[in-house]
Amino acid sequence: MSIAQWKFAAYTAWREARRQRKRLVLCALSIAFGVAALVAVDSFSANLESGLDEEAKALLGADLQITARSAFGSEAEAIFKQVGGDQSREIRFASMAYFPGSDGSRLVQVRALGGAFPYYGEFETAPAGVDIAQSEAPIVVMDPLIMRQFELEVGDIVRLGSIDFTIAAELIRVPGEAAFAGIFAPRLYIPLAQLESTGLIEVSSIALYRLYAANLELPADTLIESIQSPLDAAYLKAKTVKDRKGSIRRPLERLSNFLGLVGFVALLLGGVGIAGAVHAYLMQKRDTVAILRCLGSSSAQASGIFWIQVATIALLGALAGAAGGVFCQAALPRLLAPVLPFDLDFFVSWPSIGVGILYGASTAFLAGIFPLLPLRKVSPLRALRSDFDMGTKQADPAVRMLSVFALLAITAFAASRTDVWWHGAVFIGVLVLVVAILSGVAALVKRILRSGFQPRSFLLRQASANLHRPQNRTLYLTTSLGVGTFLIYTLTLIQTGLLQQTELANESDTPNLLFFDVQPDQLEGVQAILAERDLAFTTASPVVTMRLSAIKGQSVASVKQDPELDIKHWVLNREWRSTYRSAPGKGELVSGGDYIGDWTGKSEPVPISLEDDLARHLGVVIGDRLTYDVQGMPIEVEVSSLRTVDWTQMWPNFFATFPIGVLEPAPQWWIGVTRSPDIETTAALQSAIFHAYPNVSAVDLNAVIEALQNVFGRISFAVRFMGLFTMATGIIILANAVTASRHQRVRESVLLRTMGASGRQIRLVLAAEYALIGLISGVVGVGLALAAAASLGSWVFKVDFYVPWLQIAGAIGAVVSLSVITGLLCSRGIASQSPLAILRGD
């Protein structure tokens, strides 16, 4: 085309749009929500990335962190000498804290800190400037959570073990930790020098021993590489700033990728909306193209007008979406700030905006090309015969090629948004399946309505006829609303399912109070305290710590270096907390072999039972042998049985269980659970146990669950927040479809009015029609969501799935209401059109 022809096309595109602005704006909005979602998520990710880079060193507070699960021995000390630089130490463990002022007690995370930590970032307190690590006085810096819970103030007393500490300040921020870090067990910092006098750390107590080092001669990562072997040998785990950044980045990346994927669905749906709206628009423009062809316009020039319009709509929609995305971006950090381990600055990420606009505009334009392509084939003969080329449904190879390209592009995008490419492909596959099912059901319903549905009510008959009349939008509307329903409700169901699991403790006789670190000589005393309140341990198990030293005769060190063995290092390095018992515990099921409950203890190998998932990770089966290092004593064992463990149950669960008669002499502590009838009994028990045995921790599982729900709630809200973009797009699509068929509706309504129908009756017909569309979309979308949530629950989250009937009814009702409200709002004025005016207008 010449420049003059392009000019004409562009000018006519603008003139064509003059009287269609509302409709075109609505069409552009289809893509806007998807772009907004993508821009919001990508900008948020850019903010995170920048925050991580800016606060990199403060994320660890040092250059290097070395952690052990037992007190540092001589090997560790030798390594620390080699590490050099400035060093600080910390011991952290769970313990009960007692508050004499209120006679209350609570599980806390004690962190005994010594040295000049943090070397980077600031240990923020209120009042400021409290140097807990260097203090020689018994002072404590406390998490604000616990300060508020027990109405404590600076200067109040907290008892840890046998020592009274004075609260010196409230903890504001520790470098590299989120505000939520203390939500399960509030953090409580004491000077390391004061720890011993508390008497809280016993030989077999669970504690983390940590060394922080800074100002090293070598870069931390280089240093770690050079001392990796001695670190492994001493069971020391080293972490550098790079590792810490990675461990923070990975889950956040996964979350933002997932949010991005959810946003992408809104974009895809928007594409479907654009395709549908443009199709309806262009159906009415075929005559214009035919006239222009008669007047001497080439095919490219005539259809070029509409290509320009679609490209403009795509760009405008994407621009509007990007602007909206920037606003939403501001909301995400606020929502997720408490779970982030650093301050997040809000800034506009232009690259993210650019990418969002590019994706949005391309998606919209690509979607618009589908209805644009047939336009090139409009014959000028239509100007003479308006029925010419109606009903010719020959497959267009260009449309086929475009479909394949679009599918590949969508899959590539989804794959780029997931850790593993095939996850993206599966996501798109599921989506395609959902669309296919929705389309199939819509087609079936249409067929049923056409052939057999003859209600007595004329209004209902008219409404159902609207769903299958020529050029109906039933399939398109049902699919778009249904996909939105499916996505949002799947997310809601998964959240509900997971929360239901955690709420079980409130609903049944499962334990809600857990005691750990009970030394063998304290067991009877603790049981006696329980008995005073008519309670007893539902289950109590001894815990013996050990490490794996050989698998099938091959030492762990050589297993790690064997390229043919693909066993994850976390399995090999972990400290095992095993028990001994005569029968499988509650919530455990023997899935293979024979569970041997008693053993003479004099001969090896000892028959043990392994959790089946862990056995799979280790690559062992029944009959295979392992060697454990039980606190210095090697014990050879043989896997005699495998167990499936339900980890969601609040019973003490173990990877390895030994028979009675083997581990009894080993250093050990006990874990026990019971069910407390009410909060008061729980508080009284915690207080009594603290007074009698300060080292024993009594954990209120309800408080833990509450904390879990809090964290989970924020993240799931963020996910559903993104899901709302999809629903908003679905509504825009519905509005588009109603607007597209408005002219036809007006004619029908006028005809009905000339036959004597009232405005109310016409509105009822419309309401019934949109209610039917909402009902089909709602039922199918919710049904598919149930299937998806049940599958995900069973295979991914390993939780039992419960069908929330009331919630389902509510969800379907919400979709029907949305459909009816949107439909009626967009049909405003149709029922009140004057028949005469319309006939004259025609």
Partner: protein
């Protein structure tokens, strides 16, 4: 040298697929129309009048035979070539006006010139609208005009590129008697003024009589070809 005829048809046949067989709508039509002649094509419904008009104007392609307009064989041109030819030499008036609903009267009239990329098209369009008596309605959209007014806009549009051949398909078919007469007066007046070859498809014998030549079609064949004395 004698100028080529405005329209020259040889063995023109058009078949359409109908179920599992072919339906012949136009069969072996031969016709030659000299430049400046005004011909009427008449015949009962379904006789092939509109099909013949579509083929003559290059809106459709023949199953067999050839169409030459002003010495150019339309079958030698592709779809876009035929469109360019129409833009340069052909004008149309349709029974149902066929104005572009989103353009004003003035813009509709100017469209053929704009399509050719001509600058300053507004004065020419205004002049033609004045000629058809719609100088005051230039900014009105088709929906704001009556049927007669719409057809007058269509006439102005048909003549704006000074076509050598004008095809008119039942131009008064959708108009009442008075409006119809007005349109015919304008059509023939402008035709005479520009010396255009006119091909008029009509049911109306009185209208046909105004032309120089009457071609009668029946069952897709020319059954009579009478020249006015």
């Amino acid at each position: 040298m004698q100028p080529p005829p405005a329209i020259h048809l040889e063995g023109l046949t058009r078949r359409y697929p109908s179920g599992d067989h072919q339906l012949t709508v136009l069969s072996e039509v031969n016709l030659s129309v000299p430049a400046g002649q005004r011909i009427a094509i008449v015949g009962p419904s379904g006789s092939g009048k509109t099909t013949l008009l579509g083929l003559c104007a290059g809106l459709d392609t023949a199953s067999e035979g050839s169409v030459q307009l002003l010495g150019t064989a339309l079958e030698s041109l592709n779809e876009d070539g035929r469109a360019a030819f129409r833009g340069a030499h052909v004008g149309f008036v349709f029974q149902n006006f066929q104005l572009i609903p989103s353009l004003t009267a003035l813009e509709n009239v100017a469209a053929p010139l704009e399509l050719r990329g001509e600058p300053n098209v507004r004065p020419a369009a205004e002049e033609l609208l004045e000629k058809v008596g719609l100088a005051q309605r230039t900014d009105h959209y088709p929906i704001q005009l009556s049927g007669g007014e719409q057809q007058r806009v269509a006439l102005a549009r048909a003549f704006i590129n000074r076509p050598k051949i004008l095809f008119a398909d039942e131009p008064t078919g959708n108009l009442d008697g008075r409006n119809g007469e007005h349109i015919i007066d304008l059509l023939f007046g402008m035709n005479l003024a520009q010396g255009t070859t006119l091909v008029l498809v009509t049911h109306d014998p009185e209208l046909a009589k105004l032309c120089d030549r009457i071609i009668t079609l029946q069952d897709g064949k020319i059954v009579s070809d009478s020249l006015k004395a």
